[in-house]
Amino acid sequence: MVRLTAVGSRRGALTALALVAATVGLILIVTAVLAQVRAPQPPRAVGQIDAEHTGSASASAVPPSVASTPGATGKRPLLASLPTRITVPAIGVDSKVLPIGLAPDRTLAVPQPGPNLNRAAWFKNSPTPGQPGPAIIEGHVDSDQGPSVFFKLGQLRPGDTIHVFRKDGIEVVFTVNAVRDYKKSEFPTEVVYGAAGEDPVQPLLRLITCSDFDASIGTHTGNEVVFAHLTATHHKGARSTH
């Protein structure tokens, strides 16, 4: 009798403990799973780049299918003025823009840990946005702190707008005409930085970030490039660019 009671209470305690452990365990797992974030994977190719149908570009994975002629809507180029801020409403980007140069290995340098890590960077040897040719603005997809400024770049599609604010107070508006996901090993330097095949007198913009993370080597193997062309300029006088 005594023995049975002891067994019974032990069984009850074990059941309660198991229930508590299972419940807390499940809550922790569900919370952690819900906290998982992942950059939207860009498509291999959407939209059209003039370079690709003049035959001067490196082969792209998918031939362009969307008909659009960026040149037809081209705007008159502006004089040089440093970009200070970029907004991309479709993906909630609003960032200061810092100038950046080449790394010692002659690749484009990237924002380093510190206050600028999660900000967009403009390549200072490229045209300032609104000048003729392709202005280059890059940003991290993620950093050790989690999602970064261009985390959602893979969601952009032709027709979305990118707004760059310049030191001279002019806001330049670019419209996306193509999105490409390149392997870094096949990155078409001259198409992206040199506008090979496109009308280089036209003001162009490229947004660049990383894509295709390879967990087995711990690095991104791709670069996503958003190709855009100037579609509007707004002269708003000297506006602050906090």
Partner: protein, 252 residues
């Protein structure tokens, strides 16, 4: 929170997606490419872009510009253009206007951009000797110039050390000061100063090679691994407790 992916978490990790793409990350695009934006000099109002892609000793050269004067004496305005070399690798400013006539002449710009290294002519001679040959210069108010040219060793070495500068010449005389309008060209005395003075300038610099390293992959793996581990551990513990409960029952 980010810990090693090698940590195995029972129950939890199996439910999570892993993006694994096997592709080598190597450098892309051999050769050297240079680019510049062409900015106006002498208030020419023009603008443009130039790229120079070197393959061995020759280069694919593209120069596009717009907004320069279109007509000269009834015909298309000839705009001689060159890669200048061995100067300071920069474009002149108004402080280089030594005679204060309001125009930076080709000579006054010399210390900044250097001497002619290669003439970007439309055909024939590309040596410095063809530098003022208006018969083989692009004509009109805008151009989209493309030519593969064998570069001299002087031009190649200036490109490499960052002192190559693209200069396009030819101003609208009406935009010059009264004084300057009466002046003769410092290069070809039979021409007015406007005809040979620099209108666009851009210092060539290296294009970045290959792609960019804009990510650490922190969002590509499993975040909150510790939370998952503790959660999984608690589930395992619950399982264990239930087993011992059954044993207790069996022992009764």
């Amino acid at each position: 929170m980010r810990t090693s992916l090698r940590v195995l978490v029972p129950l939890a990790a199996a439910a999570l997606p892993f993006a694994v793409m096997a592709a080598p990350a190597t450098a892309a695009d051999g050769g050297s490419s240079y680019q510049t934006t062409l900015n106006p000099l002498n208030h020419s109002g023009g603008s443009g872009m130039a790229t120079v892609s070197v393959h061995g000793t020759s280069a694919d050269i593209k120069v596009s510009w717009t907004g320069l004067p279109a007509k000269f004496g009834g015909g298309p305005y000839p705009h001689v253009q060159h890669i200048h070399i061995a100067g300071q690798g920069s474009c002149p400013t108004m402080s280089d206007d030594k005679n204060n006539d309001g125009v930076i002449s080709t000579t006054e710009g010399g210390p900044a951009y250097g001497a002619i290294g290669t003439t970007l002519s439309t055909k024939g001679d590309t040596s410095p000797a063809a530098g003022t040959n208006i018969k083989i210069a692009p004509g009109g108010g805008s151009t989209s110039y493309s030519r593969t040219i064998k570069l001299s060793s002087d031009t190649l070495s200036s490109l490499q050390d960052g002192t190559g500068v693209v200069v396009v010449h030819g101003l609208d005389p009406a935009t010059l000061s009264k004084k300057a309008q009466k002046e003769k060209s410092d290069l070809v005395p039979s021409l007015p100063l406007a005809a040979t003075s620099p209108a666009l300038c851009g210092a060539l610099s290296s294009m970045p090679s290959g792609g960019v390293a804009t990510g650490t992959g922190s969002t590509s793996g499993v975040e909150d691994l510790g939370m998952l581990a503790v959660g999984g551990g608690l589930l395992a513990l619950a399982g264990g407790l239930l087993v011992s409960r059954r044993r207790a029952t069996a022992g009764a």
